[in-house]
């Protein structure tokens, strides 16, 4: 079984890669800038894993990466986990930032989904998993760009689901709330305790909580397609 993980050098990406490899997947993953970490991860997990540099902010690079894929490269599993946060008010001259956030969090992952789905369909199997965010459901001052990009990816995935379902390609969006990652600590700016205190469960997710959900879907333990599954810190999502 082959897996392609877009964004393998993030904490969540690494957690997912490790679990995929542990269950026998030959993993190809992309990274943006941390080549040494990617190489170390490859060495660590073995199993013919491969790391490829890819900048999701560069649509031409994404197109070139996808154009080089052949039917023999078709993964059984695609996980889009790469993303970038952007916490800023959505007033004023936001065009450039909005474009970049949407390119990385929505346009590139959607483009990758579309191409990989095309490769999976003739084989009549495949699992496409997009890691989105609970920010898509919970508007907050400062998260318009990030939240709307993740919402767009969820909406895109929903329509894609209808087009690939008969070919037995299944999709899932996983929308985590706060996860214990460097991205969370950067967001918290030292206010970790205050944030956790404000959460209904008074705890944040671990990386493996997300990875476990990915694996449950890949194994077929979650028998669904086309939904967004929210992994929350206790906030009800209706």
């Amino acid at each position: 079984m082959k897996a392609l993980v877009i964004g393998g050098s993030s904490a969540i990406g690494e957690g997912i890669i490790r679990q995929l490899a542990a269950e026998g997947h030959q993993v190809t993953f992309t990274y943006n800038s941390n080549a040494s970490k990617a190489e170390a991860l490859c060495q660590d997990i073995g199993n013919d894993s491969r790391a490829v540099q890819l900048n999701l902010a560069d649509p031409a690079a994404v197109d070139a990466f996808l154009a080089a894929l052949t039917a023999n490269d078709t993964p059984d599993v695609l996980v889009n986990v790469a993303g970038v946060t952007h916490d800023a008010l959505s007033v004023g001259s936001i065009g450039s930032a909005l474009s970049q956030v949407h390119t990385i969090n929505y346009l590139s992952p959607a483009t990758i989904c579309a191409r990989i789905a095309e490769l999976m369909m003739p084989k009549r199997q495949g699992a496409i998993i997009n890691i989105t965010s609970i920010a898509s459901r919970f508007p907050r001052a400062g998260n318009a760009a990030y939240g709307s990009a993740k919402a767009a990816l969820e909406r895109f995935t929903a329509s894609l689901t209808l087009e690939v379902a008969r070919f037995k390609v299944r999709t899932l969006c996983i929308a985590p709330a706060f996860v214990d990652t460097p991205m969370f600590r950067e967001f918290a700016k030292g206010q970790d305790k205050e944030i956790i205190r404000s959460l209904p469960l008074r705890e944040i997710l671990a990386v493996d909580d997300v990875a476990n959900t990915v694996m449950a879907f890949v194994r077929g333990d979650i028998k669904t397609t086309g939904i967004t599954l929210a992994l929350t810190n206790g906030q009800p999502v209706l």
Binding site: M121, P122, R124, E163, R166, F167
Partner: protein, 121 residues
Amino acid sequence: MKTQEIALIAANVMYIDDVNEIDVSRSLFNDYSMSSLDFVDFAFELKSTSGKDFSPDQLWPVNTMMSNPEFYSSGKWTDAGKTELVRVFAGYTELQDGQLNSEALHNLFSVNYIQHRLAAM
């Protein structure tokens, strides 16, 4: 491939119980309501059964051509587009001016056309 093999694949894809309901000269798009997803499914099955390597667009290039401004622009086929259409249907039918619209072209997508197209690949 024989027309009956092709018709059977079409019938299976469209959940038509009796393959004899498919007239091999009638349009699968216009007369049997083959959807765009049915078409992709149909092309995959034909590819698998025929052993030939082709994409759905190669089986029926007209839709892709219509989104290419070199071939189709301002609601009309360009000269290059007309030349390409003639090439696509060469040996199957000679296109008349009245057939240069989407519906008339879709009328040509029959089992007979597919047999011809596959043989030409």
